[in-house]
């Protein structure tokens, strides 16, 4: 049996955690949720996800810092920011930190699908 690709979700909001888990399960992936970015690198090393979904505002360590840590450790897994911070500055910071795409909340599931396609096939 083929193992489902893992998606690592860094998100502290329980409603969005649930929405994203259902969203990815429905598409045949295995979502793994982390409520903060503190142990981001260890989490990525442990689970080896095919894709990372990253919120920016999180307790402990924000998504930008977590993304920088992941990239600094040499991990090239695609990172998609999904955040309510919608200013152009935030997008620039996210992409400069090593993010591959930037989506804002509230999000459209169809747009999320389209944003994932280049990375998940």
């Amino acid at each position: 049996m083929v193992e489902a690709k893992k998606i690592l979700i860094f998100e502290d909001h329980p409603d969005i955690q649930m929405i994203l888990q259902v969203f990815f399960r429905k598409r045949g992936y295995e979502p793994i949720v982390a409520g903060d970015g503190v142990d981001a690198v260890e989490m990525v090393r442990k689970h080896g996800p095919a894709l990372i979904i990253m919120d920016i505002i999180m307790p402990g360590k924000d998504g930008i810092e977590a993304c920088q840590d992941i990239r600094a450790s040499g991990i090239a897994t695609p990172i998609i920011f999904l955040t309510s911070k919608a200013y152009a500055d935030d997008k620039e910071r996210g992409l400069a930190a090593g993010g591959n795409a930037f989506l804002t909340k509230p999000f459209n599931t169809q747009k999320l699908d389209a944003a994932l396609r280049p990375y998940l096939g």
């Binding site: 909001h13 409603d15 649930m18 929405i19 259902v22 152009a88 509230p106 999000f107 459209n108 747009k111």
Partner: protein
């Protein structure tokens, strides 16, 4: 030594101390009971919310509306409010077909009618929450009522009303943003401008009018962001 008539009786001091001691004890017991009540209530509501989140899951799994409605059906007292909270929490995060399905469920469960009724409440807190809920549910039928009460509300509730109108996004309400902005203190105008930009292209002339009316109210960085927003909307008319 003090004369007898000015010296408080030792018995009086003992009684007063005892009364104070029991009062403090009673107050502490009251605070403890209140905190326990809030903790228990919070835990109970979280459990019920987790139960009703199944309805959101069904929406995301594109299950038929009837199954969704059954999942959201209130079963106990106070469930109606918890169901609405779950619906609103998810609607705040979603757009597109899942949002539409949740909105349809909210309509069928009577949430919009209940909140329209609450707009006439004597409690400003209730009116504020009703406006917020109607905004999240994009209840176009609430526009007239919100505009009606907008004039008479306090400043903080005016902002809640404008936030609700910005969520509903009927461009016909844009002149009311500019009109209401005249009554608001300058620090609030940035928020009003940002809300107006959520309307996209139709907001451009109104935002320009707002900036021209109160140029000093916008910090240079905020103004730059807003003008960028105006410019991008001019480039891509919807």
């Amino acid at each position: 030594m003090l004369p007898d008539q000015t010296r408080p009786s030792i018995l009086y001091v003992i009684y007063a101390s005892a009364v104070m001691f029991w009062l403090v004890l009673l107050l502490m017991a009251y605070i403890l009971a209140l905190r326990s009540y809030h903790a228990l209530r919070g835990a109970y509501r979280e459990r019920r919310k987790a139960f009703f989140r199944k309805g959101v899951e069904l929406v995301l799994l594109e299950e038929p509306l009837e199954s969704v409605l059954e999942a959201f059906r209130p079963r106990r007292p106070f469930d109606q409010e918890i169901v609405q909270e779950v619906l609103l929490d998810s609607m705040r995060q979603l757009q597109g077909p899942p949002f539409d399905a949740l909105r349809e469920a909210a309509i069928r469960l009577g949430s919009i009618d209940r909140n329209l009724h609450r707009l006439r409440s004597w409690s400003r807190h209730t009116r504020g929450r009703a406006m917020e809920a109607l905004g999240v549910m994009r209840a176009e039928g609430a526009i007239v009522q919100i505009l009606d009460i907008l004039e008479h509300e306090t400043l903080d509730l005016k902002l809640v009303a404008l936030r609700a109108l910005a969520c509903i996004k009927d461009p016909a309400t844009l002149p009311y943003f500019v009109k209401t902005a005249q009554e608001l203190p300058p620090p609030m105008l940035t928020r009003v401008g940002s809300m107006m930009l959520e309307f996209g292209h139709p907001a451009v002339p109104h935002v320009q009018k707002l900036i021209n009316m109160h140029p000093g109210a916008f910090a240079p960085r905020v103004l730059e962001e807003m003008l960028k927003g105006v410019a991008s909307d001019l480039e891509t008319p919807s």
